[in-house]
Subunit: 116 residues, 2 copies
Amino acid sequence: MYTKGLHIMATFKVDNTALLSNYAPFKELVNNLIITHQLSNVGDTYHSFPEFGFTANVCLTESHLSIHTWPEYGLATFDVFLSNFKNDNSQKVTQIFEAVKTFFNAEVEQYNAIER
Amino acid sequence: MYTKGLHIMATFKVDNTALLSNYAPFKELVNNLIITHQLSNVGDTYHSFPEFGFTANVCLTESHLSIHTWPEYGLATFDVFLSNFKNDNSQKVTQIFEAVKTFFNAEVEQYNAIER
């Protein structure tokens, strides 16, 4: 049976625009979270925009992570979705969301959690 | 000002499991949609699982597309999110969702649309 996974979407308000401008620290965080939570990265893209911000997608065997940053507005939209095909990963989704929120020292401007 | 973009998430019920098993036709569709809607692909991952299905993430300057397929259950979870930073892309999001639904000849088992 297909068991629905948890998808958390958040808009973060971030004062530290350096963290929204350069993807290297975020990429390091994500790579550490993937190890910690025993996920599998099957391909990722990290792309810096010429003027402001970056965008990234991390394709996991368990589903995906994504971020789009807007340093000029102090905002980032973040997604983490893990399927529950082999294990119940819902707690990992929440833990990853919390870790990313903490990393950015973010205020959560919008939060949506969907089981799908 | 940051203008919220539309993010559509759908779970598709699909009878044609061949389309859920081999990513090549879906990749061709996505590449055509990117041209049609004048979007910019800055990096994508298409990954086939050894047993069943595939997963894909397409990182766009305008945000992202993703799919995870479960041919063994006749299901796919699909996302399209385009920001409205430079243009109002909401109509494109709806058109891409409809095109993917048509491609799979899918029944929509779950649908969520979020402005974010």
